[in-house]
Amino acid sequence: MSSLKDLERLKAEGMNSLFPSKTKIMVGMATCGLAAGAQEVWQNLHQEVKKRKIDVLVKKTGCIGLCQHEPLVDILKPGYPRITYDRMTPEKVGEVLDDLVKGKFKKAIMARIDQEEFLLDDTRTRYSKGKIPAYITSILPYKRLPFYKKQKRVALRNCGFLDPESIAEYVAKGGYFSLVQVLRGGKPEKVISQIKRSKLRGRGGAGFLAGVKWEVCRNADGDGKYLICNADEGDPGAYMDRSILEGDPHSIIEGMLIGGFAIGADQGYIYVREEYPLAIERLQIALTQAQEEDLLGKNILDSGFDFEIEICRGAGAFVCGEETALIQSIEGNWGEPKPRPPFPAVSGLWGKPTVINNVETWANIPVIIAKGAHWFNGLGTSRSKGTKVFSLVGKVNNIGLVEVPMGISLREIVYEIGGGIPNGRKFKAIQTGGPSGGCIPKNLIDLPVDFDELKKAGSIMGSGGMIVMDDRTCMVDVAKYFLSFLEDESCGKCVPCRVGIRRMREMLEDITSGRGREEDIDYLQQMAEAVKEGSLCGLGKTAPNPVLTTLHYFRDEYEAHIRGKRCPAGVCKPLIIYSIDPENCTGCGVCLRVCPQGAISGRKKKPHKIIPSKCIKCGACFEVCTFGAIVIT
């Protein structure tokens, strides 16, 4: 392709594919969908369609965010709203098709979508025309589901709405038009000024202003410049980048092309962690398509701008999410961070000026170009503009990916979007920012979520993981968990990080085993400060955060472990005992059969008993008991 006309042609092709004249069935095939069984649904769907000889299209799509309800199957029948079925199974596929043949929908509809939003064009297309049967109109539309009501999807705009393996559908959603606009304008400085005015802050963790970084890099001396997309989403509990890579890979490529033009780079790298094989596969397909359309390569769209993108597969090192370590890894070295300055924008990959932004940041770029800095500025708080994607997971009813304007309160996220805590348990804390972040307690539930407020509370935004914890989550155990994570992942360069984290983990090991001493809390505090002060990179500097925040907000739990030798949440194995409540036990024998140690005895229909000396506290009985008779104290 070499002109706007060619892009328009691809757009028309994409529109036909988005809204075909025959019924289209879409299966959510991101990793979350696949983990819930989407592959089997997909295969069965193809077989059953063939068997019935019906003329429908079967397509893949990315994750729409409601991961907990996966596998999701959507049906788009011309003239009707888009219908979603949740928790699909290979068996149910036949019933759905049988009803379709009869000209109706199977009634177990989860939600409907009436119109499709084209964020970049600022238009909407209604799916339905004419009269819709009442059994469909009585189903809630997505935008009125509590999970979606407060969401504003910008970075996730296309996830779940297009086939990630179709460049035409991406173009139909307004994709690559921002690139055309930028290249036609021909003024890189103008692009940088727009990104600067948008006040977009990097979505990877530190929240540095993207436009400022770009400007420093553009103005830096040096001929070859580089651009990197950090897709080494290492924070446990965060998976928005995976979702974008798997559901809308072209948005990253377009963002990087615009960035490359703005800073004057002709080579980009996407560093993807190896735990995301599907993301790598979809990216590779998207890169090949972009090359075939001449959107990558030499003289892109006849503008004289050259740009290539290469994928680098990580090799399993969390520290490589840190930008200087990531650069080392691309260069083929072990991922040891380097002191800054010099910052990568001045001296980065191969010593050349380099801009690194993460996946979500790049996905925002085409939108800012299309809709303007002013529009973007209208979302969010005074110092944190735009939206942020959070992975709302853990002990919460509605689990999934949510994108909300910055500044929304934790309460809205947990109770309105998340629907509260399951099984009638009590909310205890929310963990943000991964191993570098902290645990925010219940009394700060009204905290508005943005970069600065989270920092004030002792945590950080990080890449957007939000793990909800209830009263059965032990905060000392959580602190120990993060330390053992970081102990494994410390590169070993600085002593405070390498040894300090280990010593803190050992102290927590003692505390959670009932060997804690009164003075341990003070020692922990001192050690935490020393590690924070003495480490070189972000990993070490922030490693004590989970300990410091839990010590600050949940000191009583530490004291219960140390003084009372008990774990109030019933988690720390050396301090808990499993027993059976004879009142609730029906003597069904299920626990007896799953116990790997033969530690449960009892006669049929009589209350059972656990023999403490044999019990290894594996939790197998707790998992299978449906009467709530297994008690952990």
Binding site: P236, R313, G619
Partner: protein, 153 residues
Amino acid sequence: MSSFEDARIVDEIIKKNEKSSLIVILQEVQSRYNYLPEQVLTLLSERLGVPLIKVFSLATFYRSFSLKPRGKNVIKVCLGTACHVKSGSNLLEKAKRDLNLSEEEVTTRDLGFTVEKVRCLGCCSLAPVVRINEDTYGSMTQGRLSKVLKNYL
């Protein structure tokens, strides 16, 4: 494998990845051999003119590399935060119990299975999660894990 065969494979990998970094070459070696055999690393060092210590430093720094043979099936039990708060570690212990592995052992003697923990597979919404080879299983329980494992025996 004979040393002659090793040399042929190493040369082929080097030729194919002329412009790539040593990490990419090691990834390729591992995908061929299922681990990084010592004699192959020595060969690589000679052929590339890179000190053996550099090759070993990469092989030991990155978690995905293994210096020991791995099992035919690799079980990755996710211990990301969401999986941790939903008792993912019990699944790790369960997998090891089912395969008769001690706390320190990761690979069964017959090289049928390797059990490793992984720090987040990005499937937090379906925690706890276990991946066996290319298949990812969400909302895993100890009971289901035993059943699923039987499909790989």
